[in-house]
């Protein structure tokens, strides 16, 4: 596997992937605070275009999917379909407390408590709503994660770790069933 990463084309491709991450935002039942903070990132004050980040309309053109809000029951199937439409090397950023585990709307009757319940998530951003500079920091960590994934060939190495951590917690009885 190691010589593959040294060939010019893959090194160039990896460099390009880190230099131009395209983002698309999906509102899965959020209170809009996260959405306007994500849009505030594109604005002159925080301008993410200097890092090459573009907000794209169609999920087909996107690399990173930013999901805001705790997934409501009605949006769950749509979120799943949108996630499947994004072409490979794709990453998911779950925004704010709602994205992590439902936030202030946890365990309400029409909510699925967080993005993890529907699609695998790579990066969680803290805050309600997170400030634009925290969102930019999240995208940068996502790029570092992408660099590591490319070096180790895909996401399996860390998804295995996530699964083990989850199973050990379940065995220890901490995570509610």
């Amino acid at each position: 596997m190691s010589d593959d990463t040294r060939t010019l084309s893959t090194r160039l491709a990896n460099w390009a992937r880190l230099k131009s991450p395209w983002v698309t935002v999906f509102n899965s039942g959020s209170c809009n605070a996260c959405d306007i903070e994500v849009i505030a990132c594109l604005m002159p004050m925080f301008d993410v275009e200097r890092f090459g980040i573009l907000a794209k309309g169609s999920p087909r053109h996107a690399d990173i999917l930013i999901v805001t809000g705790s997934v409501t029951l009605k949006q769950a199937t749509r979120l799943r379909r949108i996630w499947e439409q994004i072409p490979e090397p794709k990453y998911v950023i779950a925004m704010g407390a709602c994205g992590a585990a439902g936030g202030v709307f946890r365990d309400l009757y029409h909510v699925m408590n967080g993005v993890e319940s529907t699609i695998p998530v790579d990066i969680w951003v803290a805050g309600c709503p997170p400030r634009p500079d925290e969102i930019i920091n999240a995208v940068v960590t996502c790029l570092n994660l992408m660099k590591e994934d490319l070096a180790r060939g895909g996401k399996e190495w860390r998804q295995k770790k996530q699964k083990e951590a989850l199973d050990s917690e379940i065995k220890a009885g901490e995570v509610p069933a």
Partner: protein, 323 residues
Amino acid sequence: MDAPLLAIYILIFPGFLFLAAFAFFLEFLDRKITARMQHRVGPPFVQPFADYIKTLAKEVIDLKGVDRKALDAAPLLAMAAVMTAFLYVPIIGRSPLAFQGDLAVVLYLLTLPTIILFIIGWLSRNIFATMGGVRAVTQMFIYEVPFFLALITPAIMVGSWSISDIVTWQQHNLWFAVLQPIGFIVALIGLQAKLERTPFDIPEAETEIVAGPWTELTGRRLALMHLALDMAMVTGCALVAAVFLGGPLTPWTITPDWFAGIVGFLLFLVKTLLVLLILSSITVASGRIRIDQLNDMGWKYLASAALIQIGIVLMMNYLWVGA
């Protein structure tokens, strides 16, 4: 032109490599100008190149029942059309491949990308894409006629159908931008519509029909099609710069031949960037108009302005030649 020089001419200098690099540069400049006018910092220099490589490396998603080969071939066809059109635009001096009627060939080849956008829209079986494709073609009918008229009037005045002759004619007397101001304005607006930039980016209206014909393009198809349209921008700007702003030749002749080539190339660069600056400022300063508004604006104002321009030119020819 013997074979190796021709090969270099086609492949390296004004051919594929230079055109691709120049396309990236112009896209970078365009995005940087719009960003600076919007009080933003704008992308780094290498951004369009990084976008291109990244989209090349992305996974290509094919829908059920979509003709894969046709969708793969379409972007290549668009790029080929635009590259051949660029060969006839004079860059250093007279373009070696110039022949009578290359103006018509270039104009025809520049309309191919829009038709291919329609085909892509139709092929990708997505309602947004089809809507975008239909809009692209309707928009083409509106601005195509005035754009052609605006570019033909200089040919009538010069009396020849080759761009290089038009350029040499302008060497000894006024530029056509000064002689035919209406034609210059109509050509600029037509070019803006051809490149589908903001006042006329109706097919790719991001806020109405997701991404128009581009919705289903992923991976290398998206990269190639995006590059093709960037090249169309280069060719369009270069064409308008050559026909209306005198292209690469200077009124006084410069002794050493290679030095004249360099000066000509720099002049070509400056004029193309000037045209690009005008286009970018139009993009920044206006919102998108609807297809029916474009329809009556196109036919009422653009077409009639172009016809008036032709009328004036014919009269001048008649008086001039007559006297």
